[in-house]
Amino acid sequence: MVELKDVSFCYGSDERQEYGENSLSDVNLTIQDGEFVLLTGPSGCGKTTILRLINGLIPHFYPGLVKGEILVDGKAVDSQELYETALQVGTVFQNPRSQFYNVDTTGELAFGCENRGLPEKDIYRRIDDTVSRFGIEKLMDRSIFQLSDGEKQKIACASVDVAGAQIILLDEPSANLDYDATLALRDLILQWRRDGKTIIAAEHRIAYLWDLIDRAVIMRNGKIVWELGKEEKDTLTQDALTEMGLRSAIQEAPSDIGLPLFVEGDKLLRLKDFRFMYHGAKTPVVDILDLTISAGEITAITGANGAGKTSLLSCICGLEKRCKGMLEFEGRSYNRRDRQKLCFMVMQDTGNQLFTESVLEEVLISLPKNTENEKEHAIEILRKLDLEAFLDRHPQSLSGGQKQRLAIACALASGRKVLLLDEPTSGLDYTHMMETADLLKHLQSMGTTILVVTHDSELIHACCTRQYNIA
């Protein structure tokens, strides 16, 4: 049983005497054994904070001021060591790239048990058990760097399962997953339901587990605003969810949406001979002889895992040297180097494409040489993207959505006509997703051609006008 009694929390440390606003205020929550509870709400509502309080990362890893009691099976989490809590609680995190301690999958599964000093025979038996229940034989004994994000997330779940904790926390585990991988994750969660585990999930994308949960806890500004039981939640309409700032509760495969590739009267953009193969791969990941896409529209690029969506963007953007394709646009042919000046790609790790020490500087260095009044010009662009208030902020200190907008600002500053986005709404809540959609529509009205690789059906409905589904 997990109990939170009158819990308030704010991040910060004694040493600096700095405390932020309360991340949680007066939260009371009791979760029974075997219950499956969904914590949801807009970004910053405190759902991740609750998970961190339960697994002990607060206050042991993220310092701050905790008030109230957090009890897991009657033990106060904040006064025991993390490795003691690890026996009771297992956590699957959001980012599949960063939660692995080992570089091979089997070692990763064994990790929790090894830390506890269980005998080897015992660990082998536990691994075999998990592998057969989860059906992940094919993923065993592989390097984690060769796995897709969906596969990594399966291993992360399996690793928690091998450790055998009774309480399982899921911290936005689907944020980086595509549609199929999300369904696979759902299957694993179902398995845990059958095993009678206590599951607490913090999620924006609620659709894939909406029918599995016993209770939905909806939060806002560090407070629990609604608690809905199994029957109550099913009576909620889509509009009611939207009003609460929640994502859709209906699963829809992005490839089923079926927008046209182009329609009569569209200006066109043509890709010719786009072929790209990874070193050592036997089949090309991008293989396009001749493809026509609408220019001046927002095209969603969808397709299964490993269909080469991201690679296609890199090729279009001219980042892959070995892709020799030509792009025809507005009566001109663009080779690889030309395309680097025509296209701009907003990557999934937006942080890796921002380099300078301030938001303003970031845009300034993107402006072409000898721009007149460059500072005014830069500020004008930032105003359009709602970033004017952050001129002096360090780009790396911005939130994910803000970084994305800043990258787009740089694209505008450098006068690119084609904007490519890679999963721009992964991990975003409803409001932020809609903001991104509105922004894309605004850019489209300015004449930008936009290609979005996405698995987010809601985003496609909200703004995309064309669709290219890679079979």
Partner: protein, 245 residues
Amino acid sequence: MAYSAEKAQEKRRGFLDPRTKLALVLVLALFVMGGLGGDQLKGIKTILSVLPFLLLLIERQWKRFARGVAMLIVGYGLLLAMPYLPGILNYLALMCGGILTRFVVTIVMGEYLIATTSVSEFISAMERLHMPQAITIPMSVMFRLFPTIGSEWRSIRRAMAMRGIRLGGARAGQVLEYQLVPMMTSTVRIGEELSASALTRGLGAPTGRTNICRIGFRVADVLLLAGCAFAIVVWILELCGVTLW
């Protein structure tokens, strides 16, 4: 057939124990690269120099083997071509050839060690050598992060190419700053998340850690370790002025 972790581990078990590989790296560093030992060790050194290549073949690391051999060929090729090259080229060929021929062997051995040792094998070996957790934990984190740093670095370089950044006067320091800072920022962020995930899985517990990795000395290990010991003994004897042959 049902998956068996024990059998899979046994099957994956390296040809050599990581400790043997460590000993080989050390001995190679001392004698081949570091150049310790005189005439008496010449023969031993030749055998030692061939070893890493042999090991790569045994473990079917064809690419690494080919790369190592290619570097050696280039190295010796340069040395052979050297007398026929004019002026500065002569000097360059000599230098690069000299360095290649000497360094390749240890580099290949290092590559072999890294390519054929999993992090868990490495930690397991360190634990059996009674290294404290204060050394094994940071080192395992480092080995885990090296590939990550590499991929973050590449992703940043690509982003730079795409951004088409105009560098006022193209100051080298600034380019470096723009690459190093995001690289460090994202590595630290990944490291922090890695840290959080590892701690929720009980890393750092004071109980003795176990390891499912199958390591242990077998015939090949014993032979190679004996070889290493032999080289050291010959070297010490030589230092003491004993002539064996």
